[in-house]
Symmetry: C2
């Protein structure tokens, strides 16, 4: 672990680089003959692009996907010049010079973006994004004609599944058919369709390049879970106070919890400003030395209260309470959200510690 001397009262976010490495290897294995890229948008799903991208590169990843140009510029600083970095939002007016200067590949999503890239000189590689049914961003498959891409130096034709987390969803087959038809019009261009979930659907979705994201960061790609991934992110929150609560006393804002009996509670320095959702109120749990400690009352901006009365020995101020880790998916489900959202909303107040081998 890197040497850092965090203040004892600050929450920490511990990111396991070896776990990222192991998850990438699993996705690469499942990607079969296809090359395996990596989605590192949103600061590598909130966990630190600067530290994670080089680890993936070291594992053999050569294709990286960012959302915005600003992210791609940061990725270029973290990666060698020959790493291929795609900008999923494409190109906006005035952005072409910076894209070219930094050797970044825009993913062209619209007719306007194709025109912008062509007008900017357009000899540099670009990707073409066909929307085959998510109806979010990309050239509509229904109106698409290969002639639209004339004059572009295409390095990739891609699309994105809407319902890959449910392999039985009828839209998957439709999207695969539509994409296959379109990619066949570009026989000399690489094709990419599968995100983490799509990779698990099997070889016919893999094409030339896969683009895992959530699986790299330890989140389950399928609604039903999927292969066993290694947890990547764990929060450690310092306990500030341990105290007794009398029967019928309330906890927190809105007095949303009432003690059914005398209890022992611990208050930890972690709150919704750090990424524990308000929706986790009265339903999440943390862990102290592996034992579950239920979260009581409403999550505050900087504090959460936990039930610790059942532990063999009560914690002391300064002890650490863990969140996320192996419980990521269960906690996401308890607060009615996605592991994706929990990771990307981890706040700026953490001391971030990276364990495992750096690149």
């Amino acid at each position: 672990m890197d040497s850092v001397a965090p203040l004892p009262s600050s929450p920490r976010l511990i990111v396991d680089l070896d776990a990222v490495r192991s998850n990438y290897r699993l996705m690469a294995e499942r990607s079969g003959k296809a090359k395996t890229g990596a989605a590192i948008k949103a600061d590598a799903y909130g966990l630190g692009l600067e530290r994670i991208a080089p680890v993936l590169a070291r594992e053999g990843c050569t294709s990286f996907f960012c959302a915005h140009l600003s992210e791609a510029v940061a990725a270029r600083s973290a990666l060698d010049y020959d790493a291929e970095i795609f900008v999923l939002s494409g190109v906006s007016y005035g952005e072409a010079p910076l894209l070219r200067q930094k050797h970044l590949t825009p993913v062209l999503n619209t007719h306007e973006q194709i025109l912008l890239w062509r007008e900017a000189g357009g000899d540099d590689p670009a990707a073409l994004h066909i929307d085959t049914g998510i109806n979010r961003l990309g050239l509509d498959w229904h109106n698409f004609a290969p002639a639209m891409a004339e004059g572009l130096n295409l390095s990739l034709v891609m699309s994105h599944f809407a319902c890959a987390s449910d392999p039985a969803h009828a839209l998957n087959t439709k999207q695969l058919e539509r994409f296959t038809t379109i990619r066949n019009a570009f026989p000399n261009v690489r094709a990419s369709l599968a995100n983490s979930a799509g990779i698990l659907h099997g070889a016919e979705t893999h094409f030339d390049l896969t683009r895992p994201g959530i699986a790299l960061y330890g989140g389950a790609p399928l609604d039903t879970g999927g292969p066993s991934l290694t947890p990547v992110a764990r929060i450690e929150a310092p306990v500030l106070q341990v105290r007794h609560l009398r029967k019928n006393q309330n906890i927190g804002y809105g007095a949303s919890f009432t003690a059914p009996r005398d209890m022992t509670i611990a208050t930890a320095a972690i709150g919704y400003a750090d990424g524990v959702p308000v929706a986790a109120s009265n339903c999440w749990f943390g862990r102290i030395e592996g034992q579950k400690t239920p979260l009581l009352g409403r999550v505050s901006m900087d504090l959460c209260v936990f039930d610790v009365g059942h532990l063999p020995s009560p914690p002391q101020p300064g002890d650490m309470l863990s969140l996320l880790g192996q419980d990521l998916e269960v906690l996401a489900s308890l607060s009615d959200t996605l592991s994706y959202e929990l990771l990307t909303r981890l706040g700026p107040r953490f001391v971030r510690e990276y364990k495992g081998r750096s690149a």
Copy 2:
């Protein structure tokens, strides 16, 4: 507005410093004879402590409240040496030297923290936090004896309401009574109880110092709203694509929206990584030139889709779609959360622009 040249594809967060100023003045007016402090924890509720704290100081605020020591150190850099900066989490083992060096005031919450501060020399000012019924952090009023504070140089005795957003809640009166009894044991020490909501309860909760937070940032302190505050934070998200959707087509992950008719939709560069909750799916709205545009489908990490078919003229790629602003409380309510959470989870990807007069 500060001169910045954001990339056209990046979302922007626009923070109105004049609005903060105006909201502070309103809270100061409502605080009557009491001095008016400011909660600037969690990076001034996600909006930028470095820019906001000096504006508040210029308005006459001399008492600032941070959650952690790390935040208080940042606040000290932004404020003059004579500004009083409280650290609500108190003091942990090893932190006393930095607190003293930076002239920061720990809020002592536990017997252990009192001992730590005394052992560290303890002549410097400290605040005492009595928990009068929120049962979250602080010395339990039930067991409190003034002798516990012996040998401390107290600059403030404080407590915190659990249910101030509902002025009729019975716990408010109990907390006020308990706090009054305890503060009377410290006749020469300033007392503080009221947050934004508490300020609106009336003069008897004001004591010597009030501590508004959410009201400064434009959020409603009371469940029923409260006085008219000026919106402080507004998101501007660039439109990336405008397209037609055919009847019965779906939008987004999980295909959670199905078009009831042919529609015109706009995809904007904003997602849950930026702070639009997944819970906003199919229920929030944005605005284009003041007109409401309903959010359709599931919020993605980097993208949201909006219905724009009813606008007098459809937007173009590069046009800006607004979120939050005057709609902050309505949007919080639609996604079943608090304006506090929406503000503190605004992500790191924004270009932050400050308008209005700086300090």
